[in-house]
Symmetry: C2
Subunit: 287 residues, 2 copies
Amino acid sequence: MEKPLEAMTGWIDEIHLGVRYGLKGKVIVDEQSPFQRVTIIDSSRYGKGLLLDGCWMTAERLEKHYHECLVHPALCSAAETKRVLIIGGGDGGTARECLLHKGIEQLDMIEIDRRVVELSKEHLPSIGANAWNDPRLNLKIEDGIAWASSAPNAFYDVVIVDGSDPKGPAKGLFNKAFFENCRRILRPEGVFATQSESPEAFRDIHLTIIKLMREIFDYADPLYGWVPIYPSGWWSWTFASLKKPRYLNPISDRAMAVAGNCQIWSPRWQQGAFAAIPAFIERELKE
Amino acid sequence: MEKPLEAMTGWIDEIHLGVRYGLKGKVIVDEQSPFQRVTIIDSSRYGKGLLLDGCWMTAERLEKHYHECLVHPALCSAAETKRVLIIGGGDGGTARECLLHKGIEQLDMIEIDRRVVELSKEHLPSIGANAWNDPRLNLKIEDGIAWASSAPNAFYDVVIVDGSDPKGPAKGLFNKAFFENCRRILRPEGVFATQSESPEAFRDIHLTIIKLMREIFDYADPLYGWVPIYPSGWWSWTFASLKKPRYLNPISDRAMAVAGNCQIWSPRWQQGAFAAIPAFIERELKE
């Protein structure tokens, strides 16, 4: 195992392509799980935070930037929301935002790494919050890729992929076979959602994800927002559906029911974030 | 003068509120002008770059993220574009984007710090590019605040403030007296534009700027985008006008004439970027 991330400097950094982003703080836990290096830190700016394999995942006072944008465009637009699947999402933030939606009856959350859940519950309890005790949550410590390949056809109203960068345990979450299973297990009027990396720091992966989703679903579009702790701070989530791009239009009463809890997301914000595709990505997608 | 910014680590960092953002590289020039510390660096990720008082300003391969978003919403929507004023903008990028607009007859650029212009011309020539030799450019090394207070009433079609954070020489670029002069020298169908900091890393300043502009102009709205080298990566520019929010609607033939040169900006992107106001800022502005 490598030396502690703060390396006596008082900074915990993620380094990517000659850029580093660091928070002043200290490392609380730094261990190797069977799947990845799991690090919990305490920072002055954003409170406690989680890194996987040295990459920023979440932090107490910044996590809503990511979780709201992944969840509400999907949960507000699928025809129903009775059965929802989260693949990954071990910190609990995605489950918490999903469970704001009263229509959910069963929320299956399939996280491969038990230690991410355990350490998040212990050190980042505000992120999962009540989700961990909600009777609608069905948490399984299993491989999400295998789960997607064995779940029944047309079973879920919404499928959400909340994984890390496409390497290590998340590598299989961004390929054709996996997306095809996600489509297969999605109900015809459902919505599929995944984080889809930065158009700046991971430009090629970002484009590949969108193009692949457009091959497999009838419609797929990226939405752009901000997660300051991720490389470049500029992040995206991509949504897909069949027959029409239903994710573009939140159902009003569902949006009203959750908007008061949101720091970033609103129907207005969402409309803007789908439109705010930078010119260089729009050109690439037209080719 | 402080020690070189890369301090033997090979990283040049800006530190803000317990967060650091650094580029791998080396310092080429590091000097104290009469106004501020001026640093030119060479980075592996974004090429050569400029810092003022230790804060990231621009870099060769990232500068369009900032300059396009400041310039085109204003230049595409003012009734005319014959006389344009830039206050600040010493690297030349704002002037270059302005001069893409063929309607400009006179572009006054008032930069207080001669060394910023000289070092940008020498080390960052691609940023100013042809602007430096364009006969429409009238560059004055003077105090932009004094210029705004002495320019004639209703003289400029567009006034653009391209300053750094509100401290040091840029401190006077964000107060009521200055904005009142900007309104006074603007033509009635003109557009005023300023960078307006990050809603995340400079939340209070950002809100103050918008509220102040709404007091002084009839309409003012922020537009949100990304400048990965700035604190949080999440940045804003605020536009103002009289009688109607004309900055929301780019004039089609002007937009068509410049869009092909843009990496980020397009009429679609602009519409999204004005809509993508985060919920926490929207609530603050309604109070």
